[in-house]
Amino acid sequence: MKPNLILHVVSKFLIPLIILFALYVQFHGDFGPGGGFQAGVIFSAALILYALVFGLDAAEKIIPSHLLRILASLGLLIYAGVGVVALLLGANYLDYSVLGSNQIAGQHLGILLVELGVGITVAAVMLIIYFAFAGRGRE
């Protein structure tokens, strides 16, 4: 794509804001609307915007595709791992109450970790899919 000054400047302003908003949605999901799914999608949208404006190669320099594959697995692993930790601590699978000193703290920690896993996997998978489709038309 040939360079376009307005697109470059505007997206450079927008991308940090989008990423910040994604993090807000991720970690404020306990209190307001949002959560891992939405945050992951918004985060990937920021990087897709970067790839659209600055080119696929520049985007793959920021997040190489092998890292994306690791991240996609890591998120699911975090989620499933929280369940296994609960099992090891003597509760049912995915029962977060035993993770903290009391039930509320445990649930809070569990939900935070699980949502983090969801966000990482969703963001990575969306980027994998986009890079796969966009990279296909490159050659």
């Binding site: 306990d30 799914f37 939405q38 999608v41 939900i111 699980v114 990575a124 998978v125 986009y130 038309g137």
Partner: protein, 206 residues
Amino acid sequence: MAVGSIMIDILINITLLAFLAITSVAIVRLTNLFATIMLFGIFSLLSAGLFVVMDAPDVAFTEAAVGAGISTVLMLATLALTKGQKKSHEEDYEEKPSRAHRPWLPLAVVGITGAALVYGTWDIPGFGDPDAPAQTHVARYYIENAMPETGVPNIVTAVLASYRGFDTLGEVAVVFTAGVAVLLLIGGKRPKSSASLKGDGGQDET
């Protein structure tokens, strides 16, 4: 005050639903795939607006981010790969003899299915009906106990991540599987020559 806000709700609902209907008719009639994808995005955005009116901001958020955002981009990326223009209806249907295209059977199937669905809605309780089965079983338990049991003010998050943790784990696994499937199908580098077309094991070139 309450009556006024209900009136506004109804007005917004009618407006959004009318736009939804117009958009879907336009999607069916258009042959330009680029415009169709844009209209899909608009359709999702309108649905998100409807969800907001129905006090479901979490769902609206997802619809706006996924439906209007990412899937539009993914469909555009696919379109860029195929560069296809859908064949116009004239080429497809009208130049061929009419025996190739009989509208009556599909029309009857669609009509009967639609009538059955409308008939099914007669038994559905009204929107926000306090006696609806959805409000009387677990929803009541969640509303009363989610805050003391989990300490999370957003009940949707509490249900999604804690009470229904298994379901969400499955959903994440589905997303992960989708990514793996895309990687398996079109990921990685495409073989340069036509060797890949010759046989299954045509990976290595000599």
